[in-house]
């Protein structure tokens, strides 16, 4: 029989402090019963002698120092998991919120997980066709990759994420071994329902597991939401050989929750008030993506974050970029021009792309073509700034062609319908067609035989 403690020493923000406690483990789960019959969950976050600090997931509103009884559960937060989680919706600590029963399973999994041994990993190589030209050609998503979307408030990142979920063609995945795990941290109700409706319309709802923590839900649950989602993903991928696409949104709200917790605990802040362990903490989320040697399944992770003030050097996108394998950056200016998806090509990148494209996966010309587009489009930026000063009419002939290339590239290649699904060869052919606006002499990243084969411009 576990002891119940009836007196709290202190209640502060989401934290309660108890004293004279024996035999409590770090990170252990806690059950708090309040007078009115309500039960809440919490977690031990600090032990100092016989004094214990507990973080209450649902918040401490209504708790006084003497109206609650606290019971220590003897184990960390664990999720019961079975394949029945597919199609279900849970809150940030894994309790069902869709009106149905809790999943019953003998197998319970610690939501904190453990780091994957680098020796056990399989290097991700196979490309995922998303049907979005800019992504497929220039920042190819690879099966088992973690590739975040850096966005801003009011930019169409949700649409893009939904389009990727709808269109993604993963090598080896079919309707029986494909799953989407969706973790929402601090998102608005209408955003959450947008995702739900879209999944339903795409007919994938049976393959989706959702962990929702909405904007008005307690922030302490926000911290465990992505961990629950990834624990479910690891279970599906590595125990049931499924290909899992994990969408986490919005990592900015998550990090802010972490900052709030940290400041209530009185920790020393580092950049912009975020705790010094933000990097380590984010990495324990992002690094759970990947593939394992000898296992069929994969976890491909697409976290979405909104850059505060559209600032890519803000700690959240900055630290994320250092952990993830590239980034897809959305741009407000393109968004305002009505270009969808508003992907800013130059700062975007996929680090795993080099090993997952080419003749074996996509097409022989893919790598060089994408290099050439990057290099030519970066030249467009120089020409544009020059044109602003001296006027477009005074530009040299070649520079004018660059401007034309830039416009056409944005309007025809980057822009596409939110329901438009382009195959990789359509995408690459389109790339060549637009590059052919430029004379051959400007194409210094392409091998002559490639130019011979694919170039569509004037033969000189």
């Amino acid at each position: 029989m576990r002891k119940e403690y009836l007196k709290l020493e202190k209640v502060e923000g989401p934290l309660i402090v108890l004293s004279n406690i024996q035999d409590v483990a770090y990170d252990e789960m806690v059950e708090i019963k309040i007078e009115n019959g309500e039960t809440r969950k919490g977690k031990v976050i600090k032990i100092d002698g016989d004094k214990v600090v507990v973080q209450v997931f649902e918040g401490t509103a209504g708790i006084s120092t003497h109206n609650a009884s606290v019971k220590f559960m003897g184990e960390p937060l664990k999720l019961p998991l079975s394949k029945e989680i597919l199609g279900r919706t849970f809150n940030g600590i894994g309790s069902p919120i869709d009106g149905a029963y809790q999943v019953i399973s003998q197998n319970k999994y610690n939501v904190n997980g453990r780091p994957i041994n680098p020796v056990a990993r399989k290097y991700p190589r196979n490309f995922i066709q998303t049907g979005v030209s800019a992504i497929d050609a220039l920042m190819t998503l690879i099966r088992g990759q973690k590739l975040p979307i850096f966005s801003g408030n009011g930019i169409a990142h949700n649409e893009l994420a939904v389009q990727i979920v709808k269109q993604a063609k993963i090598e080896g995945a079919n309707s029986t071994n494909f799953a989407v795990v969706f973790g929402a941290m601090g998102v608005r109700h209408d955003d959450a329902s947008y995702f739900m409706r879209s999944f339903e319309a795409a007919g994938v709802l049976d393959h989706v597991v959702m962990y929702l923590n909405l904007a008005d839900d307690p922030i302490t649950e926000r911290i465990s939401t992505p961990r629950c989602a990834l624990t479910a993903a690891e279970y599906l991928a590595f125990e049931h050989d499924m290909h899992v696409l994990v969408i986490l949104t919005d990592m900015t709200s998550y990090s802010e929750a972490l900052r709030e917790m940290s400041s209530t605990r009185g920790e020393v802040p580092s950049r912009k008030g975020y705790p010094g362990y933000l990097y380590s903490d984010l990495s324990t989320i992002y690094e759970r993506a990947g593939m394992i040697e000898g296992k069929e399944g994969s976890i491909t992770l697409i976290p979405i974050l909104t850059m505060p003030n559209d600032d890519i050097t803000h700690p959240i996108p900055d630290l994320t970029g250092f952990i993830t394998e590239g980034q897809i950056v959305l741009n407000r200016e393109l968004n305002q021009k009505g270009i969808y998806p508003p992907i800013a090509i130059l700062p975007s990148l996929s680090r795993l792309m080099k090993d997952g494209i080419g003749a074996d996966y996509t097409r022989e010309d893919h790598a060089d073509l994408s290099n050439q587009i990057f290099s030519s489009y970066s030249k467009v930026q120089d020409v544009r700034s020059l044109a602003q000063i001296i006027g477009e009419d005074d530009l040299g002939e070649i520079d004018k062609l660059y401007l034309k290339f830039g416009r056409r590239f944005e309007e025809k290649f980057v822009a596409q319908g939110s329901g438009e699904n382009r195959s990789i060869s359509e995408t690459l052919n389109l790339g060549w067609k637009i590059l052919s606006i430029l004379p051959k002499t400007e194409l210094d990243r392409l091998k002559p035989e490639m130019i011979e084969k694919y170039y569509r411009g004037k033969k000189e």
């Binding site: 770090y26 016989d50 041994n117 992002y286 290099s375 030249k379």
Partner: protein, 589 residues
């Protein structure tokens, strides 16, 4: 040795405080709790000790036992390290995988290099030999490229009183017995222990004079590195730090490479593990993995072990240096290590200095980089350690504390530039803001071993690039067409330097590694192009006509078209440049 015990009192993430610990020493290794998590004492106050724990502390309870080991955090040094991958405290990850499959659990104890493997040992001493510290008493051919020399540990000398014959021995087998001056006998095995935080002694330091040849043009020619030198490699995310570090690990002409993945991505380490065994060292014709030691403490592994991983790496490097090898150590990234210091410092509730980093950040960085150097070992051999530290400045801002302080302690600084990376100019090493303090030290070597005019050509190319930078400011205001011909030529040639020379394709078979000889010839080609086109400009041939000659494209593509074993083709290219432009001049006149 008596075991001491303490009691866990406070738990805050990786920081644990214990009471009744007055018998413990600072930096002593301890085991914490029932699961025997590995930790290290970082401070003592009266009876209370603060311990940083190298494993996850989830589930630890107040009141559990802290147990002493009597020794500081130490490495087991001996054959079995090459080609292996370890975590931050020298636990082999392959062994951990055998124990626990996919994930790394806590409480698996302190593993180290394989004790059961039998090595072919050759004893190099005989009875009654007097040996001093650092002298070799046995050798093991650890891999086909590296001879592992077993040395008397520092601080010990004596006479051999017992010696076993050559044969197969395990790591801990006694192969000889040494009688020390005080009459005590010491069993010599294949291994020795050394505490990670203490630099291994050397006989003396010697001045730097040899370059570390990397086969990367922008480095070898423009910003040469030196054996025994220190290099900072800062760059924001997406600028190609890791690819550059990998290229250096693959191609630099050190005997041993220690690669520390400190708080970086798991997949990157997996990539190294998959890629390196297949790559062949151009000098020994053996797989590169045979000379490489990997230390992987990825970002999601416990933060305290990340702090230790840098010391683990440098201690292994020192051990191989003591055998007389040139060792290069790549730390990717030192910023993650600094952040680990910050994180632990925060948990210890120390007073923060700049941006939350502890005030001792600069001194720790200095201690690390100062372990590099060109030395005479205790065995009187010449050897070196080169440190190449990647820095990941937040937001790509080089004025942050880690980059700033690193700059103070390194002599070469290869700044990776976001703008170059966006234009897919790789390696994105900024050719204007980077510097190498080794150019003058290496001058004699370059003259003797490459060519007399190598450094002159280098200076000329840098001048052209700087001139281009200035001209670009004008071009941005008025456009390129209004420049006079000679200035327009500078732009063209600078672009050629960038495309033909500075940009190097790590994924291209011929271009990934280029010998110094070829680099020199390529410089001559570009110089010939410049001098000959300049003559054309002087007689008034318009730049567009000069640029139209197909030879211009040939120069840009020479890095792909001229295979590494046929560099005489570059001489032909020079001749062709001269004749082509002579013809052009004649036609024009």
């Amino acid at each position: 040795m008596n075991n001491h015990f303490g009691v866990v009192e406070l738990i805050n993430g990786p920081v644990v405080k214990g009471t009744k610990m007055s018998a413990f020493k600072v930096n002593e290794m301890v085991t914490v709790g029932e699961r025997q998590l590995i930790g290290e004492v970082v401070s003592l106050e009266d009876e209370v000790a603060t311990v940083q724990v190298y494993e996850e502390t989830e589930g630890l309870r107040a009141g559990e036992r802290i147990c002493s080991t009597g020794a500081p955090l130490s490495l087991t040094l001996g054959p079995g390290m090459l080609g292996n991958m370890f975590d931050g405290i020298q636990r082999p990850l392959k062994k951990i995988e055998e124990i626990s499959k996919i994930f790394i659990p806590e409480g698996i104890g302190l593993l180290s290099i394989d004790e059961d493997k039998e090595w072919d040992v050759h004893l190099t001493v005989k009875l009654d030999d007097s040996l001093g510290q650092g002298q070799v008493y046995a050798t093991v051919q650890e891999t086909l490229s590296i001879m592992h020399k077993i040395m008397i540990p520092p601080g010990i000398k004596g006479k051999i009183v017992e010696v076993k014959p050559d044969g197969k021995y395990k790591l801990k087998d006694t192969i000889a017995v040494l009688e020390m001056e005080n009459g005590e006998k010491m069993n010599l095995s294949l291994m020795q222990k050394w505490p990670v935080r203490r630099p291994r002694p050397v006989s003396k330091r010697v001045p730097i004079y040899k370059p570390l040849i990397t086969g990367q043009r922008v480095i070898d020619t423009f910003f040469p590195l030196a054996k025994g030198g220190t290099v900072g490699l800062p760059g924001g995310f997406g600028t190609g730090k890791t690819v550059t570090q990998h290229q250096l690990a693959k191609w630099s002409d050190a005997d041993i490479i220690v690669y520390i993945g400190c708080g970086e991505r798991g997949n990157e380490m997996t990539n190294v593990l998959e890629e390196f065994p297949a790559l062949i060292d151009p000098r020994t014709n053996r797989p590169l993995m045979e000379r490489t030691i990997l230390i992987a403490n990825t970002s999601n592994m416990p933060v305290a072990a990340r702090e230790a991983s840098i010391y683990t790496g440098i201690t292994m490097a020192e051990y191989f240096r003591d055998m007389g090898y040139d060792v290069a150590i790549m730390a990717d990234s030192t910023s993650r290590w600094a952040e680990a210091l910050r994180e632990i410092s925060g948990r210890l509730e120390e007073m923060p200095a700049e941006e939350g980093f502890p005030a001792y950040l600069p001194s720790r960085l200095a201690q690390f980089y100062e372990r590099a150097g060109c030395v005479k070992t205790l065995n009187d051999e010449e050897a070196s350690i080169t440190i190449i530290g990647a820095v990941s400045p937040p937001g790509g801002d080089f004025s942050e504390p880690v980059t700033e302080n690193t700059k103070r302690f390194v002599s070469a600084f290869l700044a990776l530039d976001k703008k170059l990376a966006y234009a897919r100019h790789y390696p994105a090493i900024n050719y204007l803001t980077s510097y190498s303090g080794y150019v003058t030290m290496l001058e004699d070597w370059y003259k003797e071993n490459v060519a007399d005019d190598m450094l002159e050509l280098r200076a000329k190319m840098i001048r052209l690039l700087q001139e281009e930078e200035k001209l670009n400011e004008i071009v941005q205001l008025v456009g390129e067409d209004v420049l006079p011909n000679d200035q327009a030529l500078v732009l063209e040639i600078a672009r050629t330097i960038k495309k033909a020379f500075l940009q190097q394709n790590a994924l291209h078979k011929e271009d990934t590694y280029v010998s110094l000889e070829k680099q020199h010839k390529m410089l001559i080609v570009i110089d010939t192009l410049y001098e000959n086109t300049l003559k054309c400009v002087k007689i008034g041939i318009p730049i567009s006509t000069i640029r139209k000659e197909p030879i211009f494209e040939d120069v840009i593509k020479m890095k792909y078209d001229v295979p590494n074993d046929q560099i005489e083709l570059l001489d032909k290219l020079c001749e062709k440049i001269v004749t082509d432009y002579k013809e052009l001049r004649q036609k024009y006149q």
